[in-house]
Amino acid sequence: MTMTEIRAPDRAHEGLTYDRVTRIVARTLGNPSRGYYVLLGSAVTLLAIGVICLLYLLRYGLGLAGYSMPTYWAIYITCFVFWVGIAHSGTLISAILFLFRSGWRTAVYRTAEAMTVFAVMTAGLFPLIHIGRQWFFYWLVPYPNQRGLWPNFKSPLVWDEFAIGTYFTVSTLFLIMGLIPDVAAIRDVATGWRKKLYTITGLGWRGTNDQWRHYRPAYLYLAALATPLVLSVHSVVSWDFAMAQVPAWHETLFAPYFVAGAIYSGCAMVITLLVPMRRLFRLDEIVTVHHFENLAKLCLLTGMIVCYAYTTENFVAWYGGPTPERAAFIYRAFGRFWWAGWTMNICNAFLPWLLWFKKVRTNITALFVISFFVNLGMWMERFVIIAVHLTGEPFEPYVRASYNATWADWGIMAGSFGWFFMWFLLFVKNFPAVSVSEVKEELPPPRRAVAGAARHA
């Protein structure tokens, strides 16, 4: 008995046919509506604000950012970690759930994968902005300087560079691999210039047994490679902090805590993107409440892990030996940035408890609102870990300066959202935003026996 015979067909897609799936996805690539242009225009405006702020930063230097001793990692590194985190659920949904044969992923994984690629593209900008002299970006590449000195491979910052580089390359490959059969399916129903575009990007795919024979195992191997990669990338990002001696950074808990937080924020971002996309592209038949409920369950699971991590790190700070650690956590809760600390606690540790209720998990409006607050909370978490704990670090009590973000910081952060949404919107209007061939895999195949029975009924 084959695996497909054992597995029950996905009830969420009852009544769909292969042709209907192709037509629904092809329809999303038609002429854009006014709503689409409004969204794209808003994204481009935000990007323009970011670009203007960046140009000022280039002209006047990093003094324009709100850095002051000892806070030299602030909004840019916060945004970097936030966007890398957003990227994580994409690979979780596309690779890990693929290995687990989770049928519901087929309807949402393309959105998540595209989100991953564009989020890593956004994240990658921030180390470049942060270094100040962007024209020397190639100093990050491992090659010796004028004195023949190589980079320090014991530094987590070098690990991070390798991790992010690999993650971007592999997630892009994974997205492109998944797109090939779907672009070919759209190519064969498209007309005009789009047909030409998909003829080139479909890479000559015809669905022959030879093509499927090599394609399927390759997709499986990519998923198998991407699975440990997901877990490693945010672990490496967490070690950027955990390897340092700053109180509230130097924690062994950081790797799983960061990975869970990343997937939590990523799933929330998938919900934030899918809700308007489903309405705009009329994808109700393919992306159903069942899919949103499963995404909410993922949010619930990872949210509970985040809640546990918060409890543990507060407990260890209280119960453990070092007084600087305790001082850092008191500063987080009652210091100058108490509002950031409590926003993070409420949005990430308390809000996911609502998802225990099925009524909330199946209410798309409620999920959209919750996903927005989860994203806010997760951004705030990175801000607290990075900027707040650096500002409040008790090693240099003679430093009385406080950290204040400037308009350049906020402008560049807004620009990053514009950059991300612009690429995402352009992608979903030009390439299939839902997997055509994999959604078909979840439908019962057309069989003669079934057709005969229906005729005689």
């Binding site: 190519r187 000559g204 795919w205 669905g207 499927w212 078909k440």
Partner: protein, 181 residues
């Protein structure tokens, strides 16, 4: 001396004569594959808009060699990762953080990332290479745009008296359209 373009047989080669059948049902396609195999046909091509285990089982093709590409790429990436980190450490020996010059635990991160990177890149190369090779071996064969949408298809290379025999076999298995191509 002018070398032939490697893609010429795929893009501009002569069409292989044969019979193309369009199927609406998966079980009909599977029956046709079994019938064709039992009558000695080996070099036919099956088109499908999606991957189905039923087709894989009926075709019983050998395992794809792509896995060898992934394995070699992964091992090469791991070795290159170890080599760059160790070579660069010993090329200018400097003690950092009180660790030995060639300290393996931090380099495991680099080795792991390079394993995944090279493994993924060679997997892609493996797919492209193997698919192009198989397309080149088959030459140009008939196809229908419906095969990426909602129809299954079988192309059987045939000529002369074979054509009518293959056509009737495919029709018996439930092909909704059979044409000589």
């Amino acid at each position: 001396m002018k070398f032939p373009h490697p893609l010429t047989p795929i893009l501009d080669g002569p069409m292989t004569p044969g019979v193309l059948a369009v199927f609406k049902h998966l079980d009909g396609t599977v029956d046709a594959i079994r019938e064709l195999k039992s009558t000695g046909h080996r070099d036919f091509t099956v088109y499908s808009p999606l991957a189905r285990h039923e087709l894989e089982i009926a075709l019983a093709q050998p395992v794809s060699p792509v896995r060898a590409f992934t394995l070699v790429g992964g091992i090469a990436g791991c070795s290159i990762g170890a080599w760059i980190a160790l070579y660069m450490s010993y090329d200018w020996p400097i003690v950092v953080g009180g660790k030995t010059i060639g300290s393996i635990p931090p380099y495991v991160v680099i080795m792991f990332e390079m394993t995944v990177l090279f493994g993924a890149l060679t997997t892609l190369l493996g797919v492209l290479f193997n698919i192009l090779l198989s397309v080149r071996q088959r030459g140009r064969i008939a196809w229908d745009p419906r095969f990426t949408n909602d129809r299954f298809g079988i192309f059987v290379p045939a000529s002369g008296t074979q054509v009518t025999r293959v056509e009737s076999l495919l029709k018996e298995c439930g092909a909704e359209e059979v044409r000589h191509a």
